[in-house]
Each structure stands twice: as structure tokens, then as C-alpha cells.
């Protein structure tokens, strides 16, 4: 028995030695995914502060709910509270691993639910520097991975991996992600546009651990290097395992989301 485990140890270390950067990148992504599984459902309040190159600010407030879906992308419902003219507008999305996402928008003035095109992945979310794809669920199969190196971010040890989208209509050719070795969550992401030049950098801070397992940030800052605009996204009131179900994520619940 002892011999066997030694053999396994030797083999696996030999295997680790032979691991390609692609395999190591994928391994990190799978581990990050595994550590975040089982949260069932979550909700949070978000405040977005948009800042243009002149420093003028405008504020958006919204609440979001997420339902974890095993074997596919998560379901999400976002309700807008501010600015006042979009209050009551709500957005429902069923994300899928590689297929196009299903998205519906509820317009309260007309009481109209509109199924919308999901080709807008690269489009700005509420006029901010965040694109829809930056905020949607990150399933392992949506990207291909390449381990680059280890490098600390503000003294926190991290893996640096290159991530390329496998889905259609991404606004990025690739991104470079610094993943905390402790939390297996991104600390920083550099996004490269379709012309392969550096477009944006997101820095993520204020991670707290919930239910002894799930790390969630307090702040994400997205800086656009080309337009000099910046969006700060503050999170509050994280909740998990509230007993949400499919019933809370359909067109009927979208219509009455408040």
C-alpha cells in the first residue's frame, strides 16, 4: 500500500512536471470554479459611479439576484433603482456555457417585456466602463486558458493566466487575469480589445469570505485606458442561500421585480 502511494506520488509529480501552460491555466480555472460552487443563490446591492475624463460623476443603483445552475450558466435578475427615469427597469438573463444567452428586458412605463438580442456582450452596461460580459457568470468552458507566471498584486500572491473567450461576439481578443492563490478570485484583469491593444484594467479589492467559503469583493474599479473614463462598482448586502428557485427568474417575476 505504501509502495503504491509512493508510486502515485512519483507519477503525479512527474505528470505535474510535464504539465503544459494550457493545462496549468485550465487547472487554475477549474479550481476557482470548484471553490465557488454550491452557493445556490445570492443577492447583492450595487452602486455604480461613472466618471468621465473631466471627472464628472453619475450614479447608478441596482440590485441583483443570481441562481446557480448546475451544468449550465447561472440565471440572473437585475433591478434598476437609479437614475430615477429607469427605476423599475429589470433585466433577466439565462446565461449558457457556449450558446447565446437568453435575455429579457422589462420596461415599466409600457409594462412591456422585450426579449432582446444577446449579441451585445461587448456593449457597455448602463453606459459604464463595464461590458455585459465583464459582469456575467464565468463558466470554465467559456474560455481557454494559458498559465503565464506567478506575480503578486499589492503583496498578495497570484497566478497570472491569459484567458481567451470561446464564445461569439466578445469585445476582447484576450484578457490577463491575476488570480489570488489564497482565494482563487481575480485581483486584477487587463482586457485587450479586438485590435489587441490594452483597453481596460479592472482592479478588485475588499474581498470578504461568506459562509466560510465564498469570497466576494466590496469594490471593482474598471479603468478605460483609451477614453480615460472610469467606473467604480461598490457591492453591499451580500446574501446567500435564500431559497430562491427558477420561479424567481422567469418573465412573470421579471414583470413584478421591484
Amino acid at each position: 500500500m505504501k509502495k503504491l502511494s509512493i508510486l502515485i506520488l512519483i507519477l503525479s509529480s512527474a505528470f505535474a512536471y510535464a504539465q503544459t501552460p494550457e493545462e496549468k491555466g485550465l487547472e487554475i480555472a477549474i479550481e476557482a470554479d470548484k471553490r465557488d460552487q454550491g452557493f445556490a443563490d445570492s443577492s447583492s446591492k450595487m452602486t455604480m459611479t461613472l466618471k468621465n475624463a473631466n471627472g464628472d460623476e453619475s450614479i447608478r443603483k441596482m440590485r441583483s439576484k443570481t441562481l446557480e445552475v448546475q451544468g449550465d450558466g447561472d440565471k440572473g435578475l437585475t433591478i434598476f433603482d437609479q437614475p430615477a427615469d429607469v427605476k423599475g427597469t429589470a433585466f433577466l438573463s439565462f446565461t449558457h456555457v457556449l450558446d447565446a444567452d437568453d435575455q429579457w428586458l422589462y420596461l415599466p412605463a409600457l409594462k412591456r417585456v422585450k426579449r432582446i438580442s444577446s449579441k451585445n456582450k461587448s456593449g457597455p452596461f448602463m453606459g459604464s466602463e463595464f461590458a455585459f460580459e465583464d459582469l456575467s457568470s464565468r463558466e470554465v468552458e467559456k474560455f481557454s486558458y494559458l498559465y503565464l507566471k506567478d506575480e503578486a498584486v499589492d503583496g498578495e500572491d497570484a497566478f497570472v493566466i491569459e484567458v481567451r473567450p470561446n464564445y461569439k461576439y466578445s469585445g476582447y481578443t484576450r484578457s490577463v487575469v491575476w488570480i489570488s492563490k489564497e482565494k482563487y478570485q481575480p485581483l486584477k484583469i487587463d482586457y485587450y480589445d479586438r485590435k489587441k491593444s490594452l483597453l481596460k484594467t479592472m482592479t478588485v479589492s475588499g474581498y470578504q469570505q461568506y459562509l466560510g467559503q465564498y469570497w466576494r469583493p466590496d469594490v471593482m474599479v474598471m479603468a478605460n485606458h483609451q477614453t480615460k473614463k472610469e467606473t467604480r462598482l461598490d457591492f453591499a448586502d451580500y446574501k446567500f442561500k435564500m431559497g430562491l428557485s427558477e420561479r424567481d427568474f422567469n418573465k412573470s417575476s421579471l414583470k413584478r421585480a421591484r
Partner: protein, 397 residues
């Protein structure tokens, strides 16, 4: 009518426990509107040049029982400088909603929208059009209802009991956008119950992957009046006549990436000759046009109504072509424009709508509507001098 609405509203409020409403939230808007007419009036009694108007729509919302019960109250008021018929108040919503695991119940006054197409809304029938608000017919009057939604694996089934009917609001003799002469206020109903006829409706809706499908049926007082020329001792009058109709509707949208394919079909009997009408087409969206964050959508729809010979039918054989530009900027700047052209004659209906936000709470919108009425006696001939440019500044809270 209004006093009746208020009476209904108050009794609803008492019935569903206004006393339970401890703290709620207010939101809404107040807006000032300017309408400039580029052409002289067609009828001597109409106002000329321009008009000012103010509107106010607050909303009160309160929920309890962990969100399973809620109460919404949305009154609306408009004052118009020239047309007393356009100065009006309404209760858009006064509704108690109860949500359970697989059903929802609404009791009170509410608004319901059905449909998918952009150029017109054939299937949408629950609420009466508040036509004095806007020629596009998208503003609706509140409708008293009891509505039960069953949310099942096989789809969502909405059942409606609609006690009481609201007449379509129409411009008065001083107003623009009207027939000549103006429509009389001596409304005639097919039903002996007049505006107290009990109407019923149901709709089944389901999503099949990329397809969203709805089938609906309505029985009751037609929301669309037939305008009957009547000779009276005082001369010729146009009398609105409301039939009892049956209308079956189908709405389908297929969403394939940047392509949205949309169809609405109705079959209506009881309103003169039985007829069918169709609206269908596509919207194709170019995402990130010219390396900007903006999206541009091209919309094309065909509008058909087999009452083609009836001059009261606006869109019997028409093509709509339009565009929608969303800047996706911090000000939410948007532009929508389109032309509806009659295939058989030279009637054209041009439409442009643009809006953007200023600061956190101001929204400025611009609308332009221009009519080139081909033949005399056509559906637009009495409003052919009513080209309008409208500016609205709204403050949301």
C-alpha cells in the same frame, strides 16, 4: 367616468387594506411639453401654432409579507393649454398583487401589455388607448380587472375578468389630431349594459428556447370605436360606436443572435365584417457601430389588414422601415425613427423620437410626426395639416 374610477379606486383601497400600508415609496415624474405645429389648422375651431401642456405621474408602492403582497397606486394628470379634452386625470394603476409559488393574483386597476412588434400593437387589447396623450397610441388608460396568472411548466396562463369599459380619449373640437368634424361625445354601445359590460380575456405564453410565443383571446367591448356618420337635427355628427367583439391573437418572436423576427396576427369578429390583420418583420442590430459603444438596429415590418377598402383602417397594406440608435452612453441617448408607407397610394407617415438624460433626474425628449396624406378621404386626410414637433422636459423622482 372619472368619479366612477375614483370610487372604484377608493373601494379597492379599503377592500385590500389601505390601513396595512405603513411606509411605502414614492417615485414618478412631472413634465412640461411644448408642441409646435408647422402648418396652419385645417378646421377653424382648432387651435393654431403651438400648445403647452403639463403632466404629472406619481407612483406609490408598498410591499409586505416578504414581498408576496404589494400595493401600487399610479394616478396621472395632464393640463393642456388649448384642448379641454386633453386636460384629464386617470388612475393608471391601483392594484393589489399577491404572489404564490405557481400563481399570481391582481385585483384593482392595472395595465397589461401583449405583443412584440414595433410599428403597431395589434394583439394588445386589455387597456384602452389614451389617444389624447400621444398619436402613437402607446399611452393607455387604467383598466379595472381581476386577473389570475398560473405559472406552470407548460407556460403562463393569464385569465382576466374586466368589469367596466373605458372609452377611448379623443381630442375635442379645439384640439389637433382629430377628424373633421370632431367625434361626438354621445357614445353608442352595441351592448345594453353600455360601459358596464363584463369583458373576459385569456393569454397563454411560453418560451421554447429562442422562441417566445403567446396565444390570446378577448371577448367584450371593442377598444377601437367605429366612427359612424349620423345625420341629426343639428347637422352631421360622427358618433363613436363600440361593438361587442371576439378577438383571437397570436404573437411570436424568434431571437437568433442579432436577428429578432416578430409576428402578430389577429382575427376579430363582431365589428362589422369579420377581419384578419397582420404585422410582422424583423429587427437586426449592429453592435458597436463604427468602433463606438453605440448599437444600431434596422427595423422593417409589413402591416396588413383585410378590411382594405375601409377608409378608417390606417394600415391595410403598408411597409414600416425604421432605425433605432442607442448610444449606450451615460446620458442614455437614444434615437428612433421610421416611415410607414402605404403600398397602394402615396400616404406616408414619418416619425422620429429622441431622448437623453441631463444630470441624474432630467430627461429631454423630442418627437416629430409628419404626415403626407396621399389621397383625400384616406385615414390621415383629416390630420394632414397636423405635422408636429414636440419637446418634453421631465423631472423624475
Amino acid at each position: 367616468m372619472i368619479s366612477k374610477m375614483i370610487k372604484t379606486a377608493v373601494s379597492c383601497a379599503l377592500l385590500f387594506g389601505f390601513s396595512q400600508v405603513k411606509a411605502g415609496e414614492w417615485s414618478g415624474y412631472v413634465a412640461a411639453e411644448y408642441r409646435g405645429f408647422t402648418q396652419s389648422k385645417l378646421d377653424a375651431e382648432q387651435f393654431d401654432k403651438s400648445s403647452l401642456s403639463l403632466s404629472f405621474e406619481p407612483e406609490f408602492y408598498h410591499s409586505w409579507n416578504g414581498g408576496d403582497d404589494s400595493f401600487t397606486f399610479v394616478p396621472f394628470a395632464r393640463w393642456d393649454e388649448h384642448d379641454p379634452q386633453r386636460s384629464h386625470v386617470d388612475i393608471r394603476e391601483l392594484v393589489w398583487l399577491h404572489v404564490a409559488q405557481d400563481w399570481e393574483l391582481r385585483v384593482g386597476i392595472d395595465k397589461v401589455f401583449w405583443g412584440v412588434t414595433e410599428s403597431q400593437h395589434l394583439v394588445d387589447i386589455i387597456n384602452q388607448t389614451d389617444l389624447v396623450e400621444n398619436l402613437d397610441g402607446e399611452q393607455k388608460l387604467g383598466q379595472a380587472m381581476l386577473s389570475l396568472s398560473l405559472i406552470k411548466d407548460w407556460g403562463v396562463l393569464d385569465l382576466y375578468v374586466l368589469p367596466g369599459f373605458r372609452e377611448r380619449t379623443l381630442p375635442g373640437k379645439d384640439g389637433r389630431f382629430r377628424s373633421i368634424p370632431e367625434v361626438d361625445d354621445h357614445t353608442v354601445y352595441e351592448s345594453g349594459a353600455k360601459d358596464k359590460h363584463m369583458d373576459y380575456a385569456l393569454r397563454w405564453g411560453q418560451t421554447f428556447d429562442d422562441w417566445d410565443v403567446g396565444i390570446s383571446h378577448f371577448y367584450g367591448t371593442s377598444r377601437e370605436p367605429r366612427i359612424i356618420p349620423t345625420v341629426t337635427p343639428a347637422g352631421l355628427r360622427l358618433v363613436p360606436y363600440y361593438d361587442i367583439i371576439n378577438q383571437t391573437g397570436l404573437d411570436v418572436q424568434a431571437t437568433f443572435d442579432e436577428w429578432l423576427w416578430k409576428v402578430e396576427v389577429i382575427h376579430r369578429s363582431g365589428q362589422g365584417e369579420t377581419f384578419n390583420a397582420f404585422t410582422g418583420g424583423f429587427e437586426y442590430t449592429f453592435v458597436g457601430v463604427m468602433d463606438t459603444a453605440a448599437d444600431f438596429g434596422v427595423i422593417a415590418e409589413y402591416l396588413y389588414d383585410d378590411r382594405g377598402s375601409d377608409p378608417a383602417v390606417a394600415f391595410d397594406n403598408d411597409i414600416f422601415v425604421g432605425g433605432r440608435l442607442a448610444m449606450n452612453d451615460a446620458a442614455s441617448s437614444e434615437l428612433l425613427f421610421g416611415i410607414i408607407s402605404d403600398v397602394n397610394n402615396r400616404t406616408r407617415f414619418y416619425n422620429i423620437e429622441a431622448s437623453r438624460r441631463f444630470g441624474d433626474s432630467w430627461v429631454l425628449s423630442l418627437e416629430g410626426r409628419f404626415i403626407s396624406a396621399g389621397s383625400m378621404g384616406g385615414p390621415f386626410s383629416s390630420i394632414r395639416k397636423d405635422d408636429v414637433i414636440q419637446l418634453e422636459l421631465a423631472r423624475h423622482f
